[in-house]
Every structure is written in C-alpha cells, then in structure tokens.
Amino acid sequence: MNILIIGGTRFIGRHIALHLFASGPTVTLMHRSESMALELPQFEHLIVDRRNFENFKILRTFDLAIDTCAYVPSDLAILNSISFHRYLFISSVAVYRSSIPDNSSETAPRISKKMRSVCVMNMGFKRGKQKILCCTKFLIRSFCDLLSFLAQRKTLGD
C-alpha cells in the first residue's frame, strides 16, 4: 500500500505516519519543512507548500491520501495535482449544527448552506467552520465514494 500524508510531520499526521510505518505500507509525507525531512528519515518526503505549488505534479497514484491540514477550501486545490484512489479528510466536530442534541451520532445534521455563508462572513477563517466548506467542496466534486471524514473532538497530545 502506497500512502500519502499531507502535513505528516506534526501532531495527528505524525502519529498516523508512525503507526502506518510500523505496520508496513510505504508512507510519503508532504510538507514544507526540510528540517523535518531530516528528523524523520524513515519516510519519503515531498517538500511543497500546498498554498504555493505552481507547476507541482506527482505522476504516481497513491492508494490513499490522508489530509491532516486542509483548513480553508483553497487548501484543496493542490489535490488536482495528486492522483489517489481514496481520500481521508481530518475534519472537526464544528461541522455539526450547534442545535444538535447531546449524544448525536454521525447522522446529525451538519451546518446548512445558509449557515456556512453566515459563518464565513462573520467568523472569517475560524477553523471548524471552514472545515465544513472543505468537506462540502469534496461532496460537490462527487468524491463521496472515496471520502472518509473524521470529525475529531478536542485532541490531546504532541
């Protein structure tokens, strides 16, 4: 298995990368830090800035792309330069409507189109609200069959 982790050098991405490496797949980390490439020599590294990637193109196809650091919809543009069979998006519980009852599951309603507009206007680049825009962009692109979507709660650790 050939896996790409976008933003795999810190926090969630780093832990996923280390767990994956221990279980056998080939893991490639895409990030901006040359020093991190030296710190994590067991991985292949693609040093690229997802917000400034003119003429960047990866020719091979990954079995899975794990995206740990798409915070605004424009962050997804780089995916047009990457080929993959499946995509795992690390999202946030902020994608759910604030009116949902306690103990709601994954079927709980997410923020509506109208609410998303309000959030963007009022909250700027507040991370959680932008995450739902990222998710929605994928659904519009009919990637549903490829997409796994993790809504994470307050995550603790290094």
């Binding site: 996923i16 949902i100 959680g128 796994s148 650790g157 290094d158």
Partner: protein, 122 residues
C-alpha cells in the same frame, strides 16, 4: 489545548474555563487513539463520516490531574485567551457519539495518562 499545556509547563499556571463549566461533561481524545482509529478505518476500507470523540470527562478531572502535576494556580478565563468556551452555542460543549461499534468499543487511553505523557514530553 496545546496552548494550555505549554503555559502550564512554562509557569505552572493552569488556564481553565470558568468554574461554571467545571462540572460539564466534555470529550477529549488522545492523538494516539485518533491515529489508531484512523488506521482501522483505512484497513477496513470503510468510507463515510466517523466521529472520533473519545470518552466523556469533566473539566474537573482535567484540572485535578494538572493539580497533581503541580499547578500552583488556576486562572479561570473565558476571554480571547480561552476562546473555546466563550459561547454555550458552541458544538464544543455538546457530547457526540459514534454509530460505529469499533469506535465505541475502542480502549481509549485514560485522560490521566494522556495528560501526564503530554506534560512529560514538553
């Protein structure tokens, strides 16, 4: 959350939500649990949405563990230095669950171990 631990490591002061929130249930997940569950989803070839929210805890538990690590003071603040809890309308104050058994049945790392390991790693 990282900011809370970093401030604590620097000056032994714990920045916590207003005391009104202390008995509220909240959910924390250790990044190691999140990574393990993500791998299980990958290995199972499942697609869709997955709530990885961890176990229910109280803020009191969080504060008590920090106290045991030597917190000299607790600063209660709901201003910009602690924006997670500035509104009761936030989804951050609601508990969520998963409809996937493998997530619900996962053996989560305890909050105490998470915080102690995290503190020692700083």
């Amino acid at each position: 959350m990282t900011r809370i631990v970093d401030k604590f490591v620097r000056n032994n002061v714990l920045y916590a939500p207003l005391s009104d929130f202390n008995s509220l249930i909240t959910q924390f997940i250790d990044v190691r649990d999140l990574a393990q569950l993500a791998l299980r989803i990958i290995e199972s070839d499942k697609t869709g949405a997955f709530n990885l929210v961890g176990k229910n805890s109280k803020w009191n538990d969080f504060i008590s563990i920090f106290a045991s690590l030597g917190a000299s003071d607790v600063v209660n603040s709901a201003d910009e230095s602690f924006p997670l809890f500035d509104s009761t309308k936030s989804t951050g104050l609601r508990t969520l669950r998963s409809r996937h058994d493998f997530i619900n049945n996962h053996e989560y790392i305890s909050l105490e171990k998470t915080l102690i390991d995290w503190f020692r790693s700083r």
